[in-house]
Each structure stands twice: as C-alpha cells, then as structure tokens.
Symmetry: C2
Subunit: 427 residues, 2 copies
C-alpha cells in the first residue's frame, strides 16, 4: 500500500516565471515528511479550463490526494474553489457563518488601514459583496478558517482535494490544519513512514562521492533500502537519505563509510549547516571581516541570523587598494610586491581587521571574481582566504573557483565559512 499525491499550483505570475513558486516546494517537502509519494506538480494560470484539466489528469493518474494553491481571492479571476467543486461534482453553497467570519476580518483590516491612511475611501458594502464569493464552499467540504481573508476547503473523495490560498504565509499554517482533517488522514492512510537524514560534505568533487556510493552498493547489505539523493550546491554536497525505520542499521553503515573515506570532508551528519556550526563556535568570541571580492557577503551571511550582534563586531569592505591600506593597515609594499590577490595581503587584511575591531577572530577574502582582471598566473576565480585568531593561529588558502562572477563570490563566501569552522573547531 502507498499514498500518492499531486500538487496543482495556479497563478499567471507563477506560470510565467515572474514570481518564484514557493508553495510547490513547501508542499512537496511536507508530503515527503509524511511519507506520501509525490507524483506530479503541475502549474497553470488562472483559467478554470486549465485548472480543471490538471485536476482530471492527476485523478486519472490515480493519486489519493490533490493539493491546490492560489485563486481564492475575491476577484472574478479567482476560480479555484468553483472549479474544484465542479470537478468533485458538488454544488457551491453559501456558508453564512463563514461569511460573517470573513466580514469580521475585513472590518478589522479596514479599521487598521483607516488609521494608516485616512484618504483611503472604500465602500465597505462593495468589499463585502466581493468577498461573499469567498464564503461559497462545496457542499460537504470541511472549511479551513482564513489566515488572511481567504478560507480554504478540504473536499473528501477519491481523490480528496485540499484547496489552499496562494500567499505562502497563509498557505503554510492552513496546510497543517488540512493535514489534521479526517478526510486528508483517510486519503494518506496508505503512506509509508520514512526517516530522512542529511549528511553534508565540503571539498569533495561529486565524482568522488559517486565512487564511494558505488562501493557502498557493493559492500553494504540492504543498500537498496536507502533512497539517496545527492545535490551539489555552492561547493557543498548534500546527501539526503530516506529509509523505512527498520533500515536504520543500513543507514548507519552508510554514514560510517562516508566518514571513513572522507573524514575531512564530512562536516555534518545531523543536518546542521556550516552557518549553524560557525555561529555555535563563535559563542563568546568577537569576529571581524575584511573582504575584497566578496565585498560584504561574508559579513551579511554572518549577521543573517538573529542574535549575531553578540559576536559580530563588524568588517571592512576594502575594494580598492587604498582602502586596504587606510582602513586595514595593509603595507603598500606588500601590495606592490605580491599584488592585491595574494596570500600575504589576505593575511595582512585579516590581521588588520583583528586589530582595528579589537576582535579575537578575523576572516579575509581577496580574489578575482571576473569577468575582467584575470591573468595567466592569477586567472578569474583565484581567491585567497585567511583566518586569524587572537592567539596567533592563522590559516591561509588560495583556491581556484569555477563559474561566473556571481558563482565565484557566492562560493568564496561558503569557503570563508568553512575556513572559519576549521580554525575555530577544537581538534
């Protein structure tokens, strides 16, 4: 037995790619967590005929559950509920209690808006009339109360259809409520409960991992009970494995194999990101950055998380040579002798940041992000990194990073995080 699902994403702005769809990936992840097999995601515009065609397609493919997102607003082109009702062979009925709840929400919203902008002169009765449409629900459907102004519905059947609004911040809490309904629980009764674990590696090419996995296939009994997906992202390898709970031993053998073959490259077996690890290692410390090619991206990444002001003092973006000299105290003779993209300059930048900010940890980047500025000795993608701690510890590296300007800058930021992790970790 199993449970299969399909996702229908509606909305012209998503279909045309001008707005990135966040609901499909969110729902896919949620279904995966539940152990429901996702067969298809389909995207269409606002046309009822296209939505209906996708519903019929998914039903024809035998899915147990369809989840739709979008098209629940008050305007004439928001037709998802009506389309689903027709697809499920149910009449639309005005739910007067729901209508009253929506009116309450609108009254509150308009009061709030009235405070903000007295000039906004809207006819409340006209708004109510437009929103009455949102209180029309398929007969026998369970109602998901609105997070914004649009209610969702769960229509039981084969397949059961869950209708959710488009804005992610409304869809996500309403999805949790939908899962709790009897109709959805029944639709996904055949699901398999999986475990999912993530291993992260840095500094290993994809082909090296593929070779180790091939070895695992030969050496580990029951290897085929692991469903392994690997993904290369910004220089990190993410290995996500799904398995049924009684294959936990097999998974443990895989982790052992990865660790024994790549002890330096495996940096996370509990799903934690390098950002989490660096944040934990920086507790009680003070860090400063000195950035040339990454130009603020390392500082921005370190301060991405709440509470980072406890350990981030600040940084210097020293894009010009003069800034390296004036703001970080880099010796002009070093720049003359080795050039701005060199290990001695990276080291001097880190030392300068440490001193100027009175920090105990510093990281520096200087490199050629391109497209111009490369030379035979220092081609585009050449980046020097240096981490320096107050106790004198120093780690300096030069790497040749692939990709375009944006790739080189992003990957350099990731490398800087890993160098920090390496230097701060007790060994």
């Amino acid at each position: 037995m199993s449970a299969r699902a399909g996702i229908v994403v509606t909305g012209t702005e998503v279909l045309t790619g001008r707005v990135q769809d966040r609901n499909g990936p969110f729902l896919a992840d949620q279904l995966l967590d539940l152990g429901v097999e996702l067969a298809h995601v389909t995207i269409c515009g606002d046309r009822p005929a296209d939505i209906a065609a996708q519903l019929r397609f998914l039903a024809g493919e035998g899915v147990n559950l369809i989840v739709t997102s979008g098209g629940l607003g008050p305007t004439a082109d928001d037709m998802t509920v009506a389309t689903v009702a027709e697809f499920c062979g149910r009449d639309l009925i005005l739910d007067t209690a729901l209508e009253e709840r929506i009116a309450d929400i609108l009254r509150r919203l308009m009061r709030a808006r009235g405070v903000a902008s007295a000039s906004q002169d809207v006819d409340f009765d006209a708004v109510l009339a437009a929103n009455r449409k949102q209180a029309m629900v398929p007969a026998g459907a369970e109602i998901l109360d609105p997070v914004g102004t649009a209610p969702g519905v769960v229509v039981p059947g084969s397949p059961t259809v869950v209708v959710l609004p488009g804005p992610p911040r409304e869809l996500q809490p309403m999805w949790s409520r939908a899962v709790a309904t009897a109709a959805v629980q029944e639709a996904i009764a055949g699901r398999t409960r999986y475990r999912q674990e993530t291993v992260r590696m840095f500094g290993l090419p994809e082909s090296g991992l593929a070779e180790t996995l091939r070895e695992g296939e030969l050496r580990i009994d029951g290897f085929d009970r692991l469903e392994i997906t690997t993904c290369l992202r910004r220089g990190e390898l993410e290995i996500v494995t799904r398995y049924e709970p009684d294959a936990a031993d097999v998974y443990a053998e895989l982790v052992d194999l990865l660790r024994s073959h790549h002890p330096r490259e495996v940096f996370s077996t509990d799903g934690s990101l390098v950002d989490d690890q660096v944040a934990a290692l920086l507790a009680g410390r003070t860090i400063a950055t000195a950035e040339s090619c990454t130009a603020g991206m390392v500082a921005a990444r370190l301060t991405d998380r709440a509470g980072s002001s406890a350990y981030v003092a600040g940084g210097v973006v020293s894009y010009s040579n003069q800034a390296k000299i004036d703001l970080l105290g880099v010796d002009p003779a070093l720049l003359d002798a080795h050039g701005a993209v060199s290990e001695p300059v990276a080291e001097a930048m880190a030392a300068g940041a440490l001193a100027r900010f009175g920090a105990d940890t510093a990281v520096a980047t200087t490199g050629i992000a391109g497209p111009g500025g490369g030379s035979p000795e220092k081609p585009v993608g050449t980046v020097c990194f240096s981490v320096r701690l107050a106790d004198g510890t120093s780690v300096t590296r030069t790497l040749l990073l692939p990709g375009d300007r944006s790739d080189v800058r992003e990957r350099s930021t990731t490398v800087a995080m890993h160098l920090l992790r390496g230097a701060l970790r007790p060994e």
Copy 2:
C-alpha cells in the same frame, strides 16, 4: 490562430523541491517573448511512466509544442529521450557521428581532469559505453549538439517535442538553437507577436497602483488590449504589460497616466533596474558604504556588477557601537544621546565613510532588523538611512519596514539604492 506550449520539467531533486527549478521560468519567459501561449508546466521525477503521462496530458490539451528538461545523462535513470521517442512513435537509432562527437568531448574532459587529479583512474571504454546511450536518438529527429556532454533532440510532429538537458547552462544555449529549427518554427507558426514593456515604481502601496489602474480602465480607450501583470517585490512595484504592436498608443496612454499620478514613484519605464541607474550615476564618482543592520548587503549589491571596482572604494560594516566609533569616527556622545538607530548617527556614519575612504558619495544604514532589539519608540523594522555627497548634499530618512529580519535587511538594501539614485540624479 495561436500557438500553445507546455513544459515538462523532470528530476526528483526538482520535484521534491530540494533544488529550485530554473528551467521552467527560463523557458516560460522565452515562450512569452516569442508570443507563444504557455498552458501548463508539469514537474515529475525520473520515472518514465510519469514523464509519459505528462506528455500525453499536454498532447491531449492540444499544445503545439512540448519542451522537456532533464534526464539526458548517461545513467540508467536518465530516460527522457527513450520516453519521448516512444511517445512520438519513433524508434531509437544510434547516430554514430554523434557518438564520435560525444567521445571527443569526453576525451577532452578527461584530459582536463587528468591534469587536475592524476589519482582519478577511470576506464575510458566504460565511460564511452555508458555515454553511447546518449547517442541514441529518435528516428528523424533533429539533433542539438551538446553544450555539456548530452545532446538534445527536436522531434517534429503534433505536438513537436524539444528535449533539452537539465543543467541551465546547457539548456539555455541549446534552447536558442532549438528555436531556430524548422520543426519548432512550424510548431509556433501561429504565435502572436507581442510587445512587452516594464514600468517600475518605488514607494507606492499596491492598493494605490490598483486604484490608478481602475481609473485607466475607465478613461483609456482600448485599455483591455493591454495585458497587465503587477508584482510587488522588495518594496518595488513591477508593472509588466504585453500588447499587440498596434496597441502601442494605448500603452503610451497608460504610461502617461502612471507618470502623471505618481511622478515621484515611477523610476523606470525602459525596464532598467535601480541598480542599472545607480551604476550609471556613479560613473566618474567614488562611493563608500557604512552599514549596520544591512551589514554588507549594500556593498555586496553595489559590487554585484562587473566593473564596479571603477567606482566602489569600499565600506565599513559597523555592527557594534565601538566599530561605529573606531572605524567611522562617530562621536560617542551622539550614540549616547540618540541611540545607534537614529538619524544623527546615520548622518555621522555617512560622513565618516566619506572621509575614511576619501570618497565623494557615501550611504549609511542603521536599524533594527529584529526579531529582538525593538522598543515602543523604535519598533523592529525602524531603519535610518543617510546619503552624503562631497559637495555637502545630504539626504536622511527614517522608515518603518515590514516583515521579518531577512525582509527588513533586504528591503533596507533596496531603499538605500533608491536614496542613492535620488541624491545623485540631476533634477
């Protein structure tokens, strides 16, 4: 007459949402540009049965063209070409000339890898055997030569099917070649040639734009010949309008209406981004940044484009108060009197950046990104901005920005760009 298309995106990592699909949006945009109506985008994993089901669905919906992405690799689970061949009722045939071209590519790749890592001991014949599969093409198909190692194919018919590889950097150039083929030109012969123009606004709420568009509907003759999509992104409104060439006058009236109602908010009618405009305005100048809450994001954004080293000197991320004092020369008395998030401190930060970097243009941000740190007087989202030019011009603003930490930081970065634009623009 019209031309309709469907897109089939394959790949488990995309279906499960772990990798963000870039091919669907790219192809959607390309089809839109060509005047082809996109009916559906469908996403499935690697299973041939699911791919075949999606192809049948799209054909049933009467599309003239199907474009697939992904599943062209050498491994056993790369089954797209075989699935498409069966769907089109064509045999798979080994193209020996193509096989030789692929072998050439592989030889070059392996030589390059051999230089990088002598330890990589791969059996070339085994590689060739695996890649022979990629030289199997549907009878009568046009071949799209590989950008990586995977060739694409165009299979003429009703619908015509274009099969492209998954990696965006391979798919994109191969798509251009596919469009040039006779089979695709025939499939999209019924397309409507549209013009598409973009207006960008900043500082107007969506409801204000909606009101102006309602007025346009009443006042502009032929308004319904404009296909208008609006999108709110990081505080900017993007208004994209598609129209047939003979509705150019109607579009001109819309632009006039927007300009006359919102002269301060319309900042672009030629599609240019605020980044493009700021870059142009900075030509011949030198800019420095002083960032607290954005912590490097403004510097990173300014240096995002090639050639920015001509006008970006650098910046200071002054996250701590001490950094504001030591690195930017902010008077401790100012911090005591007004707090770090205040207009006097923002102004002092900008002045400090101007002086320390010897720049003629400086921008400063200081604010409360949250989730902590807010107070009744200065709630989370309060951000002070200051732009200062060498001639003494200074523009300072305090805004209350909505959203979570990441929203506040991103939107602050956009606001900083617009303040720069405003201060630098000749009026």
